[in-house]
Structures are given as C-alpha cells and as structure tokens.
C-alpha cells in the first residue's frame, strides 16, 4: 500500500497547481503502463485521453487525477464495471448443456483453467462434463483426467492421437444424455501461425454445432498473463478462427501484470471473464476491472 501511494503522490505533485500535466509525469505514467505490458499504442491512447481531460479542465487535483486515470483505463476494458456477482454462473440455454470450448497457444494454462472452472461449477451444484480433445500433447488426456478425478466430474476421452472433433462431439452428446448443465472442451495448445491447427479448431466447432446449433456458447481464449505484445496477435488470429467470446488471463499470481489484455479487450470487444492466480483448484477468480487496474499501479514508484 505504501508503494502504491508513492506513484500517485509523485504523479500529483507534478500536476497539482499546474495548468497542464507535465511531460515528466506522463513519462512516468508511460513507464508504469508499458512495464505492465499495456503496449505503446494503448499507452499513448490512455495518455492522450488524460492530456485531453487535464487541458479541458485546466486544473486537476490529486484524487481527481487518480480517478480519471483509472476510469480511462477501465473504460477500455469491455464488460460490466462491477461483476454483478462473484459466483460462477451459467446462462440459461433451454435445457441443453452450456458448451464452453477452451482455446489458446501452448502452455498458457488451458487445462488447469478448465479444472478450476469445473471445480467452481461443481461446487455450485452444476453437473459438469469435461471433453479431452487435446489428443496430441504428451499425457494431455491423463492431465485432464486427473483434474476430473480431483474435482469429481466425468471426463470424456478417446485416448491419445484420436480425432479431437470426434471427442468434442462425443463429449457434448454424452453431456446431453447425462442432462449435464455444462460441458467444457479442452483443446491442444497451438500457435496461431499454424494454419492446419487453426482449421482444426473451426472443425471442432462445426462438429459440435451438428449436435447443438448454438454451441459452443462460449469460446474462451486463455492468455498467459506474462505474455507480451504477441497476445494481441493471438487474440486476432484465434478470433478469426473461432470467434472468441471471452478471455481468461492466467498466472497473475506472478509479477507480470497482464496489461496487454487492456488493448485486446478494447480492440476486439471481448470481455475478460476470469483470472488465474495459482495452480490449485480454487485459484480462479471472476475478473474485476477495478482490482485489475489497481494492480497495474501496485509497486509503481
């Protein structure tokens, strides 16, 4: 808390009683944002907005400045200002299971996020089914099966090196048969530069739609919070291949800030739904804009 105030006190010292926010302060702000992986373009956008407001209002007080700054950043993040509940809720789908397909590049935390999500839904009394459609990475199926066991939910799998679309189809079908509330499909990590693998995602999606036309109800792109500007390209390419509808940012328990998501959410108009804050079952939180923006300024001095 002490370090948090020092950035803002410095910021306000340079602003208070001045008709304009001066360059030194803006440099300082730039550093805070850029070192949080916000990226130059989005950083300049934010700074531009602050400058506009400061020059329009002529005089900005410390607290006003803090508020303006945080408001401007939060405004770039799509979604409700305050999540209406901390619960993990599933939208109404008219009796059919809600289908979530989880995608992303290698090693970002897809499978772990699925395990955590399953645990939250399960605890909320929902009937959950997992689909092991990563049939490629060594021991990927075993990994998801262990999560299933840990949480206490069934995992549908056809073993390694089988057709991922067939697994996804089967998982959705069995979920319907079991009258499950939600089915979460794990997919293999893939770099967005690999055309064949990206096409495979579209195929998985199409196959699921044969069974439930409006599925997948949610295509969740998992981003590693320590990834830099490449995450922007990941968002663009995965959106092209599968129409991503939500984001999860993992590994925010580390020192990385995940600031790249601000530009992504703004540019592609996709809400951030969850953040991963550890490797355990309970280490998944509903994304909160304001807490996230605050965290960018933690330790800033």
């Amino acid at each position: 808390e002490k370090t948090k105030t020092s950035f803002f006190s410095k910021l306000s010292k340079a602003v208070l009683g001045k008709t304009q926010v001066d360059d030194e302060v803006l440099d300082n702000l730039e550093e805070v944002l850029v070192t949080s992986d916000v990226g130059i373009e989005t950083t300049l956008k934010i700074i531009g907005r602050i400058q506009d407001r400061a020059s329009k209002d002529k005089y900005v007080s410390t607290s006003e400045l803090n508020t303006i700054l945080k408001e401007e950043i939060a405004a770039l993040l799509v979604g409700d200002t305050v999540p209406d509940s901390k619960e993990f809720e599933i939208p109404e789908t008219g009796g059919l299971p809600y289908v979530i397909m989880v995608v992303g590049v290698n090693g970002v935390g897809k499978t772990t996020t699925i395990g955590k999500l399953a645990s939250h839904y399960h605890k909320n009394g929902k009937k959950v089914v997992l689909g092991a459609a990563d049939t490629f990475r060594a021991a990927a199926v075993e990994q998801l099966e262990l999560w299933g066991k840990r949480v206490g939910v069934p995992v549908i799998s056809h073993g390694m090196n089988t057709d991922p679309a067939a697994v996804a189809f089967d998982a959705v079908k069995q979920a319907v048969d079991m009258k499950a509330d939600v089915v979460i499909i794990d997919t293999a990590g893939r770099l967005h530069t690999k055309v064949n693998l990206m096409n495979e995602l579209s195929k998985i999606k199409r196959v699921i739609q044969k069974f439930i036309p409006e599925a997948p109800h949610d295509v969740m792109l998992v981003l590693d919070g320590s990834t830099g500007q490449n995450a922007v390209i990941q968002a663009r390419e995965f959106t092209k291949a599968t129409e991503v509808t939500s984001l999860a940012i993992t590994k925010l328990d580390g020192t990385a800030k995940g600031g790249v998501v601000i530009g992504i959410s703004d540019q592609f108009q996709i809400p951030v739904r969850y953040i991963g804050v550890g490797e355990k079952m309970e280490d998944l939180q509903v994304f909160n804009k304001h807490e996230f923006v605050d965290s960018l300024f933690e330790n800033a001095n």
């Binding site: 090693g107 021991a139 530069t193 580390g254």
Partner: protein, 305 residues
C-alpha cells in the same frame, strides 16, 4: 500494429529529407522510433531506453561514415548493437562429471519438459547414454508426460511416483545413473514463479544437492516485460549457466532475449522451435536481432548502408 522498423524510420525522417547528415535532432527523433519498436517487440522498457541511448551515441560518433540515408545507417547500427548484446562467444553446454548432470528450471508452461525430451534426443545422438529424471512432483500427469517423451526419443526415464521430495529423487537418480552406466542425467523440474519462496528454495536445494555441470533456464519467447524480473530472480537463486528460448516457431518478436541478456550475463544456448522432439536449434544472435527489429530484409539493408 507491428510496422516494419524501416518504415517507421522513414516516416520519422520524412520531415528531414535532404539532410544527409545525422544531427543530434534527427537522431533523437529516430531513436525514439527505435525505442518504440523495441518495446513493441517486448524488449523491457528500461533496457530499450538504455539500448537506444547507446545507439544515439554511436550514431553521432559515426557522422563521417554517412554515405546513404541516415535512417538506414541507424537501422544498421541498431542491428549491430542488438547482435552484440545477445552474442559473444558461442558456448556449448558443459558435460563435465560422471555422470554429468543437467538441471532444467523455469516458469510454469515455459516448455521445460518438452525441452528436456529434446535435449535427451540431442545428447543421445552424440552416442552418450542419457537418463531423464522426473522431478516435477506437482503438476498433474507431469511424470507421464516425461515418460511419453522419453519413449518417443528412446531414452530411459527415472521416476519415483510416490516420492514428493525432488531433492531425494534427483539424488537417487544420480546413484541409479552411476550403477547403470548413464553418462548424462537430465533433470526436469516443476514450473515455479520467481516470487514463490518455497518453490525457489526447493530448486536451490536440488541444485545444491546434485551439483549439476549445467543449469538451464527455460523461458517462453513470448514473455513480455516481466522477463527481466524472472530471469534475475532465477539467476540470483540458482546462478544458471545458460538460457533456452522456446516457442520461436510462432511469430513472437522475442524481445525477451535482449531483456534477459541485459540483466544476466548468460548466453542463450538453445532455441526451441516446435512441439516435436527434433525441433531444437542453436541460437544465432544476428537472426534474433533481425527478428526483434521485425525485418527480414535487414541483411540487404545493412549491405547497402
């Protein structure tokens, strides 16, 4: 979003057309563009600043050399500087000791287990008898994963599924290697955050117990600004010998390579370029510099300048 740097520099120089000389003013303007390009490529903010300060100095000192456009000269200088920063003598991994022990460490999901398999295959090709050791006792199916990879490359994997103590497992594995004529032991460890005291103590203790001849820090080339913190923290605790950059088969610019070199004086020894067991390469500083600058055409540019 990622304009080519030379395009950016051209833009910056547009207003200065006709000026064949590098002056302090136009160097400052273009240095700013270079800095932005580096940050776009995920070079750490502070590192990008100090690199461009150096470039500014060099550029001004080289006034006499100007024969073509100053933009191109600056690109050339930048490319040279980045290459120098990441380069130096090429260093092989050390295979001292009998058996020689290689310890693999890094953040979660960076590619340690995959790299361990690749390294085992690489060393096996040199006709050395290799043993892989599964010391990740946390991640679900981590042991299975290494076993599958070991099978793929034809290398034995040492495991103790019921033992949760990596120090013990690694020591036992080395004993096993001695008895079974294994010449190189590669130890895969769990992913850990640099700020996780308990986990960092654990890897430090493993290192102390087994005295590896080579400790490698595996880092995802898509890492952003945090690369410096992580690399520094790992180096402070385990004083690694070299860096492995993974997932370079994607389109990341890989600025982390410079950031890491700037905070720890350790060479990048391998790059990982795919999920398959043969996707392992040595590191070329010059190519990496081109990549970070987002310019495939740098070679021809440099030749013209």
């Amino acid at each position: 979003m990622f304009d080519n740097l030379s395009q950016k520099l051209d833009k910056a120089f547009k207003t200065l057309k006709g000026q064949g000389r590098i002056t302090e003013i136009n160097v400052a303007t273009t240095a700013k563009e270079i800095r932005k390009a580096l940050i776009d490529a995920d070079v750490n903010y502070k590192v990008a600043k100090s690199v461009t300060d150096d470039i500014k100095e060099i550029a001004l000192g080289r006034e006499v050399l100007i024969s073509v456009s100053p933009g191109q000269l600056l690109v050339k200088i930048t490319h040279e500087e980045l290459t120098k920063l990441m380069g130096g003598e090429k260093q092989e991994i050390s295979l001292k000791g009998d058996p020689s022990v290689i310890l693999i460490a890094g953040l979660q999901g960076s590619g340690k287990t995959t790299f361990s398999g690749k390294l085992a295959a690489y060393i096996k090709k040199q006709n050395r008898n290799v043993l892989l050791v599964a010391c990740d006792v946390y991640r679900p199916a981590a042991i299975d994963q290494l076993k599958v990879l070991g099978e793929q490359v034809g290398v034995e994997v040492y495991t103790e599924p019921d033992n949760k103590k990596p120090v013990e497992i690694s020591k036992n594995a080395i004993e096993y290697a001695k008895k079974n004529n294994k010449k190189v032991v590669i130890i895969d460890t769990a992913g850990r955050l640099a700020i996780d005291e308990q986990m960092m103590n654990e890897i430090a203790e493993v290192k102390k117990a087994i005295q590896p001849s080579e400790t490698l820090f595996v880092v995802d080339s898509m890492t952003g600004q945090d690369a410096v913190n992580t690399a520094k923290a790992f180096n402070d605790r385990i004083n690694f010998d070299g860096v492995v950059l993974t997932k370079l088969d994607g389109d990341t610019r890989g600025g982390a390579a410079i950031s890491i070199r700037a905070v720890v004086e350790k060479p990048i020894k391998f790059i990982s370029t795919g999920e398959k067991m043969d996707a392992l390469d040595v590191f070329y500083p010059e190519r990496m510099a081109s990549r970070i600058l987002g310019m495939g055409d740098v070679v021809s540019l440099v030749e013209r300048a």
